[in-house]
């Protein structure tokens, strides 16, 4: 084929493909398997299940791995939103009661009368086995934060086969302890997995065994389970088949005998599978929501799945060029007041996002949310944003606000902001999402109306995270000014949404180095006090102090579910619970 012809054909195929896609709108309307003994569930695009061990390590941390592991080994305390509201789902837990001491410095747990799939009882020794493994290898455990579990668990005392007591280093809020720490415990089959009798050697042995994905269905190690399912097959390409555990004696009996978890390389491939009817429980993107009728006509129901998450853009307070500006509250207020979250949520996200004004998720009602955060302390107003800047020594020059009155006076630019500083900032934003690109364009446009120049640079999400770390002004990596990694939500919380990682001084995920001693005290108080007043005060404080640019919280997923599949709520913690799925018709 001549080069000219190749070029023509390449171009022609590009256009033909676009024209065909533009014209396509039909669908086959066939069902998946036609059987109520199985279900085909679509895993998120580009995700391949790769870890069976119910102990996450940094390299294998993924909510879908956790969901699969929880279907095999039931957690001690399932504290999630799978029952329709955030709380302890006792049906899906091995523990039946958690009695906190009067001083909130220890808890005594009661285990249910449960058995492993090999018939042996689930006992306190199985929990102690997990406890010892984590204590001895905490630095390799993905859930580890210094000062938190297991550091703040000072002792484990076995009372009897079905009772044990964990002692803490100080008093803690019982709800926080249950939701964020005790919920990470999974009783493990000590009689099968404790090969060496040494926690470090056992850790190495189990992790090495878990690296062999092709052995998940055949290795006897993984056959002793406590959960509603066992592994029937586990392909290295990502397809997982779970079969009901006939020996399961817990509260969440599996409703469907066979669960097929299907991997997809792209969201488009998954959408095409949905259109062909080969998926029972899948998803579409927000931009596809206007095709809802075509899926409904095919026998599906479109169900948005909101996440227990917040979405934001961190400022880098240590950036040499703009850090001093970001440290001025009036400047952050001007930025926040320039962003029309309601329109973004309605137009860009097609109604699949809710405006977020603070550190507590707002897609769900909760007792953690303060009235201040709920009421939006800085409503959208370009004129108010401009006034904030012009009232603090900024004047518009060539369309960009410029500091013309430096100094620390009430009507001056503020400490560290030099004369002539232009209000120009750049975001490093996650690539690959049309919705995110559109949102960034809209934000750029509305900030420009205030006189703030906002430029956009994009990179894959892993690059964004690696290029926007915590830093000091003298480091070359500290050139980043704003970061966005929240296409599907920036931060998913545990059930109790504390901000110790995000907004506490030197917190592990406090990327922009935000620091406020009053907020630090509120965060500490929220984890130790047994009332919700402290976390509401924390919610109000950060809604007003703007440590980041608050943005609309998108739904975790726009689910497309085959009619007749029911009996479950979509867990805001972004886990799926196959035992709850049932064919109702």
């Amino acid at each position: 084929m001549s080069p000219v012809r190749s070029r023509l054909l390449a171009g022609a195929s590009l256009t033909t493909a676009s024209l065909l896609l533009a014209g396509c709108s039909g669908s086959s309307g066939t069902s998946s398997s036609g059987s109520h003994d199985s279900i085909d569930y679509a895993l998120p695009a580009n995700f391949t299940p790769n870890w069976i061990l119910p102990i996450g390590t940094a390299a294998h941390l993924n909510t879908n791995n956790i969901s699969i592991a929880n279907a095999l080994w039931e957690p001690l305390v399932a504290y999630d939103g799978s029952t329709g509201s955030m709380g302890w789902n006792k049906k899906g837990s091995v523990a039946t009661a958690a009695d906190f001491a009067a001083d909130n410095k220890s808890v005594t747990i009661t285990l249910g009368d449960r058995h492993w799939s090999d018939g042996k009882p689930v006992t306190s020794a199985d929990v102690k086995f997990w406890f010892d493994l984590i204590k001895a290898n905490k630095s390799q455990w993905a859930g580890y934060n210094p000062g938190k579990a297991p550091d703040n668990w000072t002792a484990f005392k076995t009372v009897d086969a079905r009772h044990f007591t964990i002692t803490f280093d100080k008093a803690y809020n019982p709800q926080w302890m249950l939701a964020n720490e005790l919920s990470s415990i999974t009783p493990l089959p000590q009689h099968v997995w404790d090969k060496a009798g040494d926690a470090k050697q056992d850790w190495t042995y189990l992790n090495n065994a878990a690296k062999n994905i092709s052995g998940y269905a055949s290795n006897a190690l993984w056959k002793t389970v406590s959960g509603p399912y066992t592994v029937k097959s586990f392909s290295t390409a990502g397809k997982v088949v779970l079969a009901a555990n006939s020996k399961y004696d817990g509260g969440e009996k599996p409703g469907i005998p066979t669960v097929n978890l299907l991997p997809f390389t792209t969201a488009d491939a998954e959408k095409n599978a949905l259109r062909s009817g080969s998926v029972d429980y899948g998803y579409i993107e927000a931009t596809d929501l206007d095709q809802k009728d075509s899926f409904t006509a095919q026998g599906y129901t479109v169900k948005p799945w909101s996440g227990w998450a917040i979405t934001y853009m961190p400022y880098n307070f240590n950036n040499p060029a703009m850090g001093a500006v970001f440290k001025q509250l009036y400047a952050r207020q001007a930025v926040q007041r320039s962003i029309d979250q309601s329109s973004l949520a309605k137009v860009i996200f097609n109604g699949t996002a809710v405006p977020g004004y603070g550190p507590i998720p707002q897609a769900q009602s909760s007792s953690f949310l303060s009235a201040t955060q709920k009421s939006d302390p800085y409503p959208f107003s370009t004129s108010a944003a401009k006034s904030l800047l012009s009232g603090h020594g900024w004047s518009e020059e060539g369309g960009v606000m410029t500091c013309t009155s430096p100094g620390t006076g009430a009507s001056q630019c503020g400490e560290g902001v030099a004369k002539g500083t232009k209000f120009e900032m750049q975001v490093l934003s996650q690539s690959g999402s049309t919705v995110t690109d559109n949102m960034m364009s809209a934000i750029q446009s509305s900030l420009a109306k205030t006189g703030i120049k906002f430029s956009i640079k994009t990179a894959p999400v892993n690059s964004v995270l690696s290029q926007t770390p915590q830093c000091t002004a003298s480091q070359s990596i500290c050139k980043w000014q704003l970061s966005f990694f929240g296409t599907a939500g920036s931060w998913y919380f545990s059930a109790f949404p504390t901000g110790d990682s995000l907004f506490q001084t030197k917190g592990g995920a406090n990327f922009g180095n935000y620091s406020n001693t009053d907020v630090d005290k509120l965060i500490s108080a929220s984890t130790t006090s047994s009332s919700t007043q402290e976390i509401q005060e924390y919610s109000a404080a950060l809604a007003k102090d703007l440590p980041v640019i608050w943005l609309p919280e998108p739904d975790y997923q726009i689910s497309v579910v085959k009619n007749g599949l029911g009996g479950f709520s979509q867990d805001p913690l972004a886990n799926f619970h196959p035992a709850q799925w049932k064919w109702t018709s």
Binding site: G432, A442, T458
Partner: protein, 292 residues
């Protein structure tokens, strides 16, 4: 003013009449030239006659159908689609042209030096070319785009640096035949330098090969820009190009919003075909060896 005096003053293109006539006889090539000219007028003069705001978004005007006020509707953030085509076309044409020219310049110099020097220098330089050709350009572009986010200038440089290999081979072949011509040998015999031989004799006599190669390079570069932008790795918002428009519009493929997909798709195919037709016409007019 006579034709001779006009030509002397540079008012008539120095294009040999028989070549111009031969080019004009190729109807497809002439049509290509017209299409290219129309697209340049559309993209560079169009915004003067049809003014739209392509910088600010308007969330009250998103995804509107074609109408009297928006001839090709609006996109997902409220940009007028006709204006967007002009705006994106500027980037596509500018990057395509500049990258094509850059690739041709690099390739010409590389090929001329390699062919003229001969021996081990030629062998080393051409093995570099062989190695470069063995790596798919799209692969290199994707790797570079994953590392850095290119602007318009960056895209031009990157595309130019991955596209010069083919022109260098063509020019080298031409140089090998030209360097043994009497006028080159005479120049060397009377003490003329190598650089003078290349710049004053070999390159001017290779102009037909270079011009034809440049035309195809421009077409290739426009297509490469479209590829890269289609994959989401092209110029950043609010800037765009036709490939980026096509990529953004593809999410609307099942929503019936054809105006987000068909116009940029057609623009790419028309311009690429037109440049190829012009290149074919020039090749025939110059009667370059190897015409197919």
């Amino acid at each position: 003013m006579s034709v001779q005096s006009a030509r002397r003053w540079g008012l008539v293109a120095q294009f040999p009449a028989p070549l111009k006539a031969r080019f004009a006889r190729n109807k497809l090539a002439v049509a290509g030239l017209v299409v290219v000219a129309l697209f340049f007028l559309f993209c560079f003069l169009g915004p003067v006659l049809y003014s739209t705001d392509q910088v600010h978004t308007d969330l009250t005007q998103v995804n509107l159908h074609p109408s009297g006020s928006h001839w090709l509707g609006t996109d997902a953030v409220g940009h007028d689609e006709v204006g967007r085509l002009m705006y994106g076309g500027k980037v596509s044409l500018l990057v395509g042209l500049a990258a094509g020219v850059l690739a041709t310049v690099i390739g010409t110099l590389w090929g001329a030096v390699a062919g003229y020097a001969g021996g081990w220098i030629d062998a080393v330089m051409m093995r570099v070319v062989d190695a470069g050709i063995a790596i798919p350009a799209l692969f290199i572009l994707l790797v570079v785009s994953a590392i850095t986010t290119p602007g318009v200038t960056g895209l031009i440089v990157i595309l130019g640096l991955v596209s010069w290999l083919v022109p260098s081979r063509l020019v080298r072949a031409e140089t090998l035949t030209l360097k043994s011509r009497d006028y080159v040998l005479t120049l060397r015999a009377i003490g003329g330098s190598h650089s003078r031989a290349i710049t004053r004799h070999i390159l001017p006599n290779s102009v037909s090969t270079i011009v034809v190669a440049a035309t195809f390079q421009v077409a290739d570069a426009i297509l490469l820009v479209a590829y890269v932008s289609y994959l989401g790795l092209g110029v950043q918002p609010p800037s765009t190009d036709w490939g980026g428009m096509l990529s953004a519009g593809l999410t609307a493929a099942y929503s019936g919003r054809w105006w987000l997909i068909v116009p940029p798709g057609l623009a790419i195919i028309l311009v690429v075909c037109a440049f190829n037709a012009v290149g074919d016409g020039l090749r025939d007019a110059f009667d370059v060896k190897g015409r197919g």
